[in-house]
């Protein structure tokens, strides 16, 4: 065998099970792991190039002919200064040349920082990152099969989980803190729960423009200074700047302007729902979402040229029988992948939603819906896959155990994104000849090449079970949900707050923080109720 295993000589000489066990014990360098943040997607293109052009042209027409209503005066001033036209009907219309100018000014290939530099996200090209998002108002209680209102403590614990699950690359607010009525306190706790849980990049929302100043003050305290925050802004604003179809969300636009001034990257989020607030044809829903986000690109760059803004076309799907949202449908997978292709066309970092399930529990339906939508989002080269883990009941519920299981789903999706390595080594006939010819062993078990690839090319599930039926029965038929529950407990038992103790003390003295450090009472691992 002439394959270069790249391993130290001593290990290469060993063979068989003992060698495999020894090899597995050694930690892998980050760039040798079979999956990692920022793998290149783009192997899947639901649209032809001509179709991309057609959608682009229709979006430009929509901006020119329909435009958007309800921009705030400050936005109208900035955008008409840049060349937008305010009609007598109060709608702001965007000539094609203006959109093209602003696309030319828009920030490209910018990073989104983590507080820990190891978690920085490189949003260039078709690099793929998976993370959370959502505004669930319930936590799924697996032990009772019931939904209960989510709290700030739940949000903090979901951030801790995200911090410790490798295939989750960023953490955007998953749940609404339903235990906090005051909007400013809500926004402060939402932000601080995320920052206390993880040093990965954070996305947050602001329900009230009055939250901006205290939230930014808090961020300066976490970062150590305003300068440190502005150098590496580790929180982006998830901002619904439009109310589809084709209306600016006046208040949210003002919040966005304030956050831009404070140096916070923006997620320009257009969340129409095909068949309700967006057209029913998938292509037309993409047209409308693209038009709306292009309006946002004009807005951001009119206010602050080159300010980092993620192209957040997030069209959702209606179940047209009921009008209710369906997050786990194939139509959702297509919408999201089609949007990702438009992001690639514009060359601007993009985000969209995938991995949501309509199921109420982590069951088989949750698996296929999360699997299909997440893998297509990644293969389409979506830079930021939001909502990708833990979101149940069409975004109404968050499941911590579902997040632990979803980490396995994301691993599989990322392994697909990584793709097939076709290299000199990987298609060389040397190994095949050594196995087949001249009294070779007739199989590849234990070959150096097999040993080498075991850890770097093959991904193993954390919770997923690959036992034979016999081993499975002898192990007492381990239940997937019980295993996930135990894993959640294990993570939360050992997890530590991610804000330094002195900063934490100062922040808790300054702001009304409504959650504690200790994980809430954890259930003992249990099977799903019958």
């Amino acid at each position: 065998m002439t394959a270069n295993t790249g391993l130290p000589e001593k290990k290469r000489r060993g063979g068989g099970r003992a060698a495999r066990v020894a090899l597995r014990a050694a930690p892998l360098p980050e760039d040798s792991r079979p999956v990692r943040p920022g793998l290149r997607g783009g192997q899947y293109s639901p649209l032809t190039d001509a179709e991309v052009q057609r959608i682009h042209a229709a979006a430009l027409d929509a901006l020119e002919q329909i435009g958007l209503s309800q921009a705030p005066p400050s936005g109208i001033a900035a955008m008409t200064d840049a060349g937008a036209v305010l009609g007598e009907d109060g709608r702001l219309r965007f000539p094609r040349a203006l959109v093209e100018d602003m696309l030319a000014k828009a920030a490209r290939a910018f990073p989104l920082y983590g507080r820990d530099g190891r978690h920085d996200l490189d949003l260039s090209a078709d690099r793929v990152h998976y993370g959370t998002a959502g505004a669930a108002v319930n936590v799924v209680d697996l032990a009772t099969g019931s939904y209960r209102p989510s709290t700030a403590q739940d949000l903090y614990e979901s951030a801790l989980l995200a911090h410790h699950l490798d295939n989750i690359h960023f953490f955007q607010r998953t749940m609404v803190c339903c235990d906090i009525a005051d909007l400013i306190e809500l926004d402060l706790n939402t932000l601080y729960a995320a920052a206390s849980g993880t040093t990965k990049h954070i996305g947050t929302s602001m329900s009230d423009i009055a939250s901006v100043a205290p939230c930014i003050e808090m961020l300066h305290m976490i970062a150590g200074s305003e300068g440190a925050w502005r150098d590496r802004p580790f929180v982006s604003l998830s901002n619904c700047f439009v109310v589809p179809p084709m209306k600016f969300a006046t208040e949210s636009c003002l919040t966005m302007e304030a956050c831009i001034r404070a140096g916070m990257p923006i997620l320009l989020l257009s969340a129409g729902q095909a068949g309700a607030t967006a057209p029913a044809p998938i292509a037309a829903a993409i047209v409308q979402a693209v038009a709306e986000v292009l309006a946002g690109v004009v807005y951001v760059n009119a206010v602050s040229p080159g300010h980092p803004a993620v192209f957040g076309t997030w069209p959702f799907v209606s179940d047209l029988r009921t009008g209710a949202m369906s997050g786990g449908s194939a139509e959702q997978a297509l919408l999201t992948a089609g949007c990702a292709q438009m992001h690639r066309f514009y060359g601007i970092p993009g985000g969209a939603a995938a991995g949501m399930t309509d199921s109420k529990l982590p069951d088989m339906q949750a698996g296929w819906e999360q699997g299909i939508t997440n893998v297509l989002a990644g293969l389409s080269g979506l830079n930021m896959v939001y909502e990708s883990v833990g979101m149940y009941a069409s975004l109404l519920g968050f499941s911590p155990e579902g997040m632990v299981l979803g980490n396995d789903v994301l691993g599989q999706a990322q392994r697909c994104v990584r793709g097939i390595d076709v290299t000199e080594d990987s298609v060389s006939l040397d190994v095949m000849k050594a196995v087949c010819l001249d009294g070779g062993p007739g199989h590849y078990l234990g070959s150096d090449q097999t040993l080498k690839l075991m850890q770097t090319e093959y991904l193993y599930p954390d919770i997923g079970n690959r036992m034979t039926p016999k081993d499975w029965v002898e192990s007492g038929r381990p239940d997937l949900l019980a295993t996930a529950t135990a894993r959640r407990q294990q993570i939360l038992t050992h997890a530590r707050p991610q804000v330094a103790a002195d900063a934490d003390l100062a922040i808790r003295a300054r702001f009304p923080i409504r959650f504690g450090h200790a994980p809430s009472s954890l259930p003992t691992p249990t099977k799903r109720p019958a």
Copy 2:
């Protein structure tokens, strides 16, 4: 609204819920269903064109330099006549020109017939069909969570289920009839269980060359005559003509020759296992599978030029920690999709395996593994997606309820394959203008366009649940597995044998058929055991 809904005037005038209900009650013409057999794939390409060429070149090198051992004398005679070279080491080697000649002679774009013409499969281009396959030796008993040996009766019932589940397009043997020891009786019962259950295209296996004559006699009886059989051969032979790596399976080759003479299409099946009987690098496993099946193409066309043969590169994956097979892994999804791309390159109808799960039960793992592997197989344009439904525990178990649930997975995969319709209508701004401008309603609910697309563009799950948490609780928290169990029972209660009574009598008089017509005792719907 100016969109042409294509509906009769009377229905167009109606609006709202009543109209939607009326519309849903009307059956859709087959070609208006949101999904159907033969949708065009190919939107996903894990390999670049250069990588495809490189794998092709390596496969030709392997055939020329390594070749295959253990061909039977008749095969050696046919292939050396055509230009293959028998070495002193007993290996048959294939000059590049020979392979290219035989590729030129190979049948392309042939159909695989159903007994009912509505189920004919058009294997041209990248048309995608999903179906079953496997040699499971266990049935999963959901009521007890245990595995028990599979029987001829189980096989018959799985064929009945496949017949009544729309997203399953063909039925290849799913299970081994473990209650039949005699190999010829086994093959006869395997074939007849499938034919009794479905008029969709059937794939079968033959364990003994002595089975060929009686099986063909039975097929003539089912068809009505030898001529009727040869006109529309509705059964193909799933034939493991190679034992990877790079050896012919001597006995199976003889069976293949006999079936070719009897007019039966062949599935040229190379089922290596990466890391065990195939190289560990995914690319190299594809090289070996392609080389082996190209040898099969030479074989078939040397014996009978232009005989229909499916390019059956079925490489499986080893979990390299244990050597055991992993059917549900991302690596499997990549192997299968890569093979499909090679089939497209050769322009020969191809088949491979997807949709297998390593899980023991229809749980969340089963969902994500089946979802990811099936959707990528379809998007890669695989003509025949084998093993796509019902296969558990890395092919060791078959679950009837899993098959019912899998039908939903296949529906979602097929909806993804169908893709995004970008047409004049679907990107027209007329509907958007009517909604947004001049006092329009500001939403798309109840628009003619939405109503029109409700049935033709949006697919609804059969078992999957899209209720809100509130409705779900009020409905008693319906359990996915209980719903699937009830659906299985409903289908089997109403299903009828698919061989006419007189032919059935004659066949049962002539051959030792070991299963009855009535479905076996069906369990009452039950929840999964705690």
